[in-house]
Symmetry: C2
Subunit: 478 residues, 2 copies
């Protein structure tokens, strides 16, 4: 069991140092590795398999709403990036610029896309002529680059993978409808598939996307009480359309500007998955997202018949579940630790005694619940356990989120909660950006969102005492 | 029918101007569009849907051979690119360089990946320690950048999409085996899925990949008699491993260099698909790759019951086939032309008279064969017709390739064939690179490959008359 110990010992406990625990899990579960390219990571097979499942699931949900995939260039000419004033101010400071092609200086430098609104606008300007061409509901899966100073695996890196949806509509109403629709796709995906409960709401003007009229967000609470913005959806109104002159002829033959939206989800959600569900033994994946749902570990596998039985069980389960046998020459304790580190939802242990008794031991990754199951009931029992685990993981995360959501009706209460009780703070706000900035400067807490479900906690702003306009979720955030 | 005419008239005929025909099809079938970014294209929904199907099919075939997907950074530090001498010489001249991050000059400039051998080497150097870590059989789907001067949609663009597989093995034999295995995956995929017959062979030293010991290729013949390299697989031996010091400890505890391979297929194959199967009405997609296999076109759709029947047919076919109804307000002739332009394999026409007679008319895109099919037989008949079309397309392409493959045993015959009969020329070659270069300089024809299936056409080199070493396929190429 020496190897087993080694694997587990190298992980810092969550309570001791959450940031170090996170890094340990990410590396030990072999999700990523660092590279010679500062601020960029390798996504290794175990990490990429998770992203593939997220991508396939989201893509299917997008397509069910009429989304079509496209691919646009990764480069944005400087003049194009500059067309929308707020947008360029937001993104230019962290842009990476290509200035040489071959050995020749370029006439115009090219930004490696940090996001593609300007490219989609340039495309729609050509592609949209009549109301018959609308709506355009396009999406692309790609990588984007933002020259961040401090980086962390999945949470903040200079290059990351994402999807970016970009739509153009005939009316403001349709654009708003699509913006909210996609936010709901994100919320449902996060809750149903990743078992991450979210707060849906609107960003304040200070926190909205550069160039947007309104930004909607889904905010999740991590195990350490910090918030993570997990998906955003933006309504641009006709701002970009005016800057790029994207017009269409309506049914009355009059020229109109289109109304646009964009919405994105990134490899960051893998960070959320880790920080919402993980524990001191490593990753815990939901049954729905797990690339491998069941790991069969043979015990005393050199005894005759054990590996055969393990393989027979695998085959009998493979139609319904994603299942593997760990037949490597490591000892079982090491295999257990590895399966736990990787967050594989169920472990099936089968050895000579089990075979004699016609049964196997099944262990749940999240609760460690251990049950002995006759071989003939294994198929059904595994289905039940996976369903239960998916449901329990959501309920547990929701209970954690709810018990770490506080209300503050005075400034003293606000700062006291922030200092002693990591989590969301619900509080009233006057709606003044200067007041929001002051709160951030004084405490480090930011407005996460103005939730769709508003409550009236008091009549006055928690900070300045002026009349309150909105209830806001505050928090420290990743 | 005015609109119908307009759509068709704008296409140049293949015989008149093949290059213009290609561009017309690519634009009219709405596969791509040009952008403000010189040399880069937008892949539009119809084009991207084809790439998605290619990607999913290839990815499944890769995974069946044990390939795992990963994602590496898009940037390569200059010092990393320079580690393998031949490799940097091959790629530096067409590299795009990032020199600014935000507003700050970078300490070391970063190349936007033209291919990722150097990054994978850097990664394997860290990731491989013992023979237990081998083999590594990784692949990534991404875009790459090569600063080409002249570009053409799908065939040559500054940025293109591809997959690049990169493997590391304990022995030279295993690396060679994987190189050939992946070439066969490409060949089977092209022939079985895209109905494109290929010649499998080895590139000459002059034409091999920069840094490779050996490059294998699958070469296809386009309708105009020009060749297109459609997929390549490279054996690096231990050259990169020595340059990057990628070593492992073998079972006897001795340090050994790994042996590596890489292999890639790109959006170029969409160009091949167009140029092998297309005709003067536009694209012709194989039933296997077609995002939509059956387009139901209602005739006199305003008559009661017609749209309902079309929709009923769609539903009855949707379990087995990818099927759509074109219920737009265009006239049927326009819809026919559009379905043909987009290469949708089958059209089902259904109008009031058909409904009365309990039948529909089914038209094959490739042969225009028209059959009247009772509704209750439609499901089975469509299956048959799709299978037949897939098979016929391959046979037709193969017959075209074979009838455009010539042999030349004298230099006069070689130049005469090249001038008057576009196609492959099989000829003997002395094996001397200077002679190969002379042939290219004098005629524009390049060595496509030394086919695995060798024949002896004569004893002497077709150009210099020295003793022949290999039979080679020559051709003009895209």
């Amino acid at each position: 069991m020496a190897k087993d110990k080694k694997l587990v010992e190298q992980i810092t406990s969550m309570e001791e140092d959450f940031a170090q625990w996170y890094t340990d899990v990410v590396l030990k579960a072999e999700l990523i590795d660092y590279t010679s390219v500062k601020g960029c990571m390798v996504i290794k097979p175990a990490g990429f398999a998770i992203w593939e499942r997220i991508k396939n699931e989201l893509d299917a949900r997008f397509k069910a709403t009429g989304v079509e995939n496209v691919y646009l260039p990764m480069f944005i000419p400087e003049s194009l990036l500059q067309k929308e004033k707020d947008h360029v101010e937001g993104f230019a400071p962290e842009a990476a610029w290509v200035t040489l092609g071959g050995s020749n200086p370029l006439q115009e430098k090219l930004c490696v896309r940090p996001t593609s609104e300007t490219l989609f606008c340039d495309f729609y300007k050509k592609d949209v002529e009549s109301y018959r061409d609308l709506p355009k509901v396009y999406n692309q899966w790609c990588s984007v680059v933002r020259w961040e100073k401090e980086t962390r695996p999945f949470l903040r890196s200079r290059e990351f993978l994402w999807q970016e949806g970009h739509t153009a509509h005939a009316t403001a109403e349709e654009a708003e409808e699509r913006t909210v629709q996609m936010l709901n796709v994100y919320a449902d995906f996060l809750e149903d598939y990743l078992a991450i409960p979210v707060i849906k709401g609107k960003k304040t003007d200070k926190e909205k996307f550069a160039g947007a009229e309104a930004t909607y967000t889904v905010e999740a609470l991590m195990h350490d009480g910090k918030a993570l913005q997990s998906g955003t959806s933006h309504n641009f109104g006709d701002g970009f359309a005016r800057a790029f002159e994207i017009q269409y002829t309506d049914k009355d033959n009059k020229l109109q500007f289109v109304h646009q939206t964009s919405w994105g989800m990134t490899t960051r959600v893998i960070g959320a998955l880790i920080m919402v569900h993980g524990d001191d033994s490593g990753l815990v994946l939901t049954p729905k997202v797990a690339p491998v749902q069941v790991m069969i570990v043979p015990i005393m596998q050199k005894k005759e018949g054990v590996l055969d039985k393990a393989e027979e069980l695998r085959k009998s389960l493979a139609d319904k579940y994603r299942v593997k046998v760990d037949a490597s020459d490591k000892n079982p304790g090491f295999k257990f630790a590895e399966q736990e580190m990787r967050g594989i939802p169920l472990r099936v242990e089968v050895g000579p005694k089990d075979i004699e008794a016609g049964q196997a031991v099944v262990v749940r990754r999240d609760t460690r619940e251990k049950v002995t199951v006759p071989f003939e009931e294994l198929d059904a029992k595994i289905g039940e356990m996976l369903d239960a685990m998916q449901k329990d993981m959501f309920e547990r995360a929701k209970a954690h989120r709810d018990s770490h959501t506080y209300t503050a009706t005075s400034w003293e209460e606000f700062t006291d909660t922030l200092e002693h009780k990591p989590g969301f703070i619900k509080a009233m706000w006057c709606g003044d950006e200067a007041c929001e900035t002051a709160i951030k400067d004084e405490t480090g807490a930011t407005t996460r969102c103005m939730p769709f479900e508003q409550e009236t906690l008091s009549d006055v702003c928690v900070h300045c005492g002026k009349p309150a306009k909105k209830m806001v979720y505050f928090g420290r955030a990743y």
